[in-house]
């Protein structure tokens, strides 16, 4: 079974089950909302894809002549242009591009083994997934815990510390944070590996099924591989996660403070409920809703951060694939990767919106 199929099953089956649950148990309003949201994703993907096409085709600069460099004769350039279909009328190219987006058949790459681009991407995509999931979890944990702590100790040292943290972490260049972590934990202390997903020697013993090394080593019971995978994950996860956490700290803090001033909190306090229960049980629960919205908005920052993090840590994911293909001037692959990123953005924000509507009973459209 090809890895991409297995991956699709791992992601697809739970989402379908979730949707099925919603449609069976949910209210009419909820059902209608989710259906509308799914339908609205189609034009979003369409617009994002067209944007990519527009940028790649309409801006000046000829990918073929720059790929061939000074060696390229006009005949060679023409031949490759015809081969890639760049000489066709713009509308034909656009139609073909939209077709590729629907079928995911992006053609073969211009460099290396000339393999189908979708195959290369399906090898890289699990690595990115394995990076952004733990990073998002870290960002949420740090952000929600820190924000709540800051709000509950308002105008005290803890509060100011977290506020300063939020502003400073927002200003740190993500690739520099990665480099500094590498320098400290990798070079100076020598505790953690600074590049790759797995130790190359241990990596040969790992049987890959999904290309998510964490899952692969778990299902095959390869414990030394699991240890190596986790060690390699730590630094990139911290890099990407901490950068994201700043905004979560701010939003959580602001919202918890706002909810703490609500009447029902005053009522609860009057009933003698302990402050801890008040903050974590009552205020945080209600303050979470805008935080979930933020997750959807953060997707773009998360993916952009992943590109830089992957480059710093030589992480073989989609981001480093994009950067590699740009330096190899593989124009077809670049366009395909960016298109896939656009589709990812649309899909993830769809997922976040659906979860949002499930979590917050007040949202009824």
């Amino acid at each position: 079974m090809p890895p991409i199929t297995l991956l699709a099953i791992i992601i697809g089956v739970p989402s379908i089950l979730l949707l099925a649950y919603v449609f069976i148990r949910g209210t009419t309003g909820l059902r209608r909302y989710i259906l509308t949201r799914i339908v609205l994703t189609v034009p979003m993907v369409f617009i994002l894809g067209s944007l990519v096409f527009f940028i790649m085709r309409v801006l000046p600069g000829d990918p073929v002549s720059s790929a061939l460099g000074p060696k390229g004769t006009p005949e060679m350039i023409q031949q490759i242009r015809t081969q890639l279909g760049l000489n066709d009328p713009m509308i034909v190219q656009y139609g073909r591009f939209l077709g590729q987006m629907v079928t995911l058949k992006f053609g073969n790459s211009l460099v290396g083994g000339h393999r189908p681009i979708i195959d290369e991407m399906s090898e890289r995509f699990p690595a990115t997934l394995e990076l952004i999931i733990p990073a998002s979890i870290l960002a949420l944990v740090v952000g929600i815990y820190g924000g709540t702590l800051a709000a509950s100790r308002r105008k005290k040292a803890t509060d100011y510390a977290f506020r300063i943290y939020a502003v400073v972490i927002y200003s740190v260049p993500i690739f520099w944070l990665g480099l500094i972590l590498q320098l400290f934990f990798g070079v100076k202390l020598g505790w953690l590996p600074i590049s790759g997903r797995i130790d190359p020697i241990i990596g040969t013993t790992l049987q890959t099924h999904t290309n998510l090394y964490f899952i692969d080593s778990l299902i095959t019971g390869n414990w030394s591989a699991l240890g190596s995978v986790v060690l390699h994950l730590i630094l990139p996860t911290i890099t990407l996660g901490l950068i994201q956490s700043g905004l979560f700290v701010r939003i959580t803090r602001a919202n918890v403070i706002e909810t703490l001033q609500a009447d029902y909190i005053a009522a609860a306090r009057a009933r003698g409920i302990r402050e801890k229960v008040l903050i974590y049980g009552h205020a945080l629960k209600n303050a979470m809703i805008p935080v979930i919205t933020l997750i959807g908005l953060q997707v773009a920052i998360l993916l952009a951060g992943a590109v830089l993090t992957e480059t710093v840590f030589s992480w073989p994911g989609m981001g480093s694939y994009l950067v590699e293909r740009i330096s190899a001037r593989d124009y077809t692959a670049v366009q395909s990767v960016i298109t896939v990123f656009a589709m990812l953005v649309a899909l993830i924000s769809l997922a976040v919106d659906v979860i949002y509507s499930l979590v917050d009973p007040r949202v009824r459209y």
Binding site: P43, M44, I47, L48, L51, V52, I55, M56, L59, P60, G61, P63, S66, V167, V168, Y170, S171, V172, P173, I174, F175, W176, L179, I180, Q182, L183, V187, I194, R253, A254, I257, E258, V299, A300, I301, L302, L303, A304, G305, V307, L308, T311, V312, L322, V323, I326, S327, V334, I338, F341, A342, V345, A346, S349
Partner: protein
């Protein structure tokens, strides 16, 4: 009793309101007094604007701050911060007249002179380079003399010096600081000066932030890098401001199909990961400063558009706009005189945060090797270069990153403080 009555003034005192008070003082003093209203936020804005002004000063006059130009090769490669560059010196027998390597030159067919060096020391490289250069000079002079020393490597300083004292080798080439400690053991040897015969300058200072992989001063490159960072930050933000604000005003004011179409495009652009879009644009356009500015400004048009459109929609419904419309003001007049001034504060806030974002994105692009030609002194490029030497020369990555952090922090704090001051509703949060 009588005196008390006389003290009562005959005319009532002028009623002084705070508004009149404010009118009497100048703008500067008014700004200074504002700190009583705004407290901590006032200090944020004050300190960060001073920092921003300082960075702008550095960017305009980098030569006031940097001791060298960014491209000059100032010294040895990979010199740690404040490390004094080691100078290679000749150690010769006291009775010889040798004062430079050139004195070792012999006839084409004569025995080549033996030179002792310590294994693993940097001096052997110096010896090689200097000898080659002198040899080339000798060949061009053409009087039959050549300098092709046989380099003998010893595993300790003592054995190298002993070889010269015994007469096995003609001279030894060691670091200038090493001989002072052991000179009393080798009374028959003396320090014969530098390899080229020039006076060894003892006052040689190190470099504050060290040197990079080709021997450029990292501090000077840092200073000159400010210019590129601020140029990219300001011009791309200005470009997106000039495009985003009018579009937002028009969409909000006119509404209808134009609004829907523009909003659709802008929302998609906003949802797209900014850096990836910039990567695509920069990759298609090719490396140049103008192209990186275009690539980044495209990302931030939606930010201005969304805020300005939202503000316009709110302000449009205000009573004073209604009043202006009812006395027959033209649409352009309403837009220019009543709506536009109301969006200026928000635009100022976004601009400040936007410059910070643009600098970060620009650094990210050049770190990936996109956007800027690799010869330019830029923080992102320097960081990418330093990454390859993270094991041996960590100072190459620490300082440029700190510079980005400080500049971005100044702009972010300014934006933060301005937000709190302009939006008093949020101040208590």
């Amino acid at each position: 009793m009588d005196t008390n009555i006389e003290k009562i003034p005959t005319t009532p005192p002028d009623e002084i309101t705070w508004e009149d008070d404010l009118k009497k003082v100048g703008l500067l003093r008014r700004l200074l007094r504002a700190r009583k209203w705004y407290g901590a936020d006032w200090w944020f804005v004050a300190i960060s604007s001073l920092a921003v002004l300082f960075f702008i000063l550095v960017a305009i006059f980098p030569s006031w701050f940097a001791p060298y130009t960014p491209d000059t090769l100032v010294g040895p490669r990979f010199l740690a911060p404040n490390e004094i560059p080691a100078v290679s010196v000749l150690i010769a027998p006291s009775d010889s007249t040798i004062s430079s390597l050139k004195d070792l030159a012999v006839d084409e067919n004569a025995d080549r002179p033996k030179v002792a060096v310590v294994m693993g020391a940097s001096t052997s490289g110096d010896l090689n380079d200097t000898a080659k250069q002198i040899d080339a000079d000798l060949i061009s002079e053409g009087n039959g003399l050549r300098l092709r020393p046989v380099i003998e490597r010893y595993d300790s300083l003592d054995s190298a010096l002993q070889a010269v004292a015994d007469g096995t080798d003609a001279v030894a080439v060691i670091e200038s600081t090493e001989f002072a400690g052991v000179s009393q053991n080798y009374t028959s040897l003396r320090e014969a000066g530098s390899l080229t015969g020039e006076v060894v300058s003892t006052s040689t200072k190190g470099f504050v932030m060290g040197t990079n992989d080709i021997g450029q001063d990292i501090y000077s490159r840092l200073i000159y890098g400010t210019r590129i960072a601020l140029i990219i930050g300001f011009s791309s933000s200005l470009l997106s401001l000039f495009l985003g604000v009018p579009l937002g005003l028009l969409a909000g004011f006119i509404g209808g199909a134009l609004d829907r179409l523009l909003s659709l495009v802008m929302d998609s652009l906003y949802a797209f990961p900014g850096l990836i879009l910039a990567i695509a644009i920069a990759a298609v356009l090719g490396p140049s400063i103008l192209n990186i500015i275009i690539a980044i400004s495209v990302l931030y048009i939606p930010t201005y558009y969304r805020i300005v459109r939202g503000q316009t929609l709110t302000v449009k419904e205000e009573v004073y706009v209604e009043a202006a419309r009812s006395i027959g003001a033209r649409r352009s007049e309403i837009l220019g005189r009543y709506i536009f001034p109301n969006v200026i504060p928000s635009v100022a806030i976004i601009f400040s945060v936007n410059v910070a974002d643009a600098i970060l994105t620009g650094a990210g692009l050049s770190f990936l090797g996109l956007g800027l030609p690799p010869t330019i002194a830029d923080w992102g490029i320097d960081l990418a270069r330093g990454q390859r030497f993270i094991q041996t020369a960590p100072w190459m990555i620490t300082f440029p990153g700190l510079a980005i952090l400080l500049v971005v922090l100044a702009f972010t704090l300014m934006g933060e403080g301005l937000t709190e001051i302009f939006n008093p509703k949020l101040r208590d949060r």
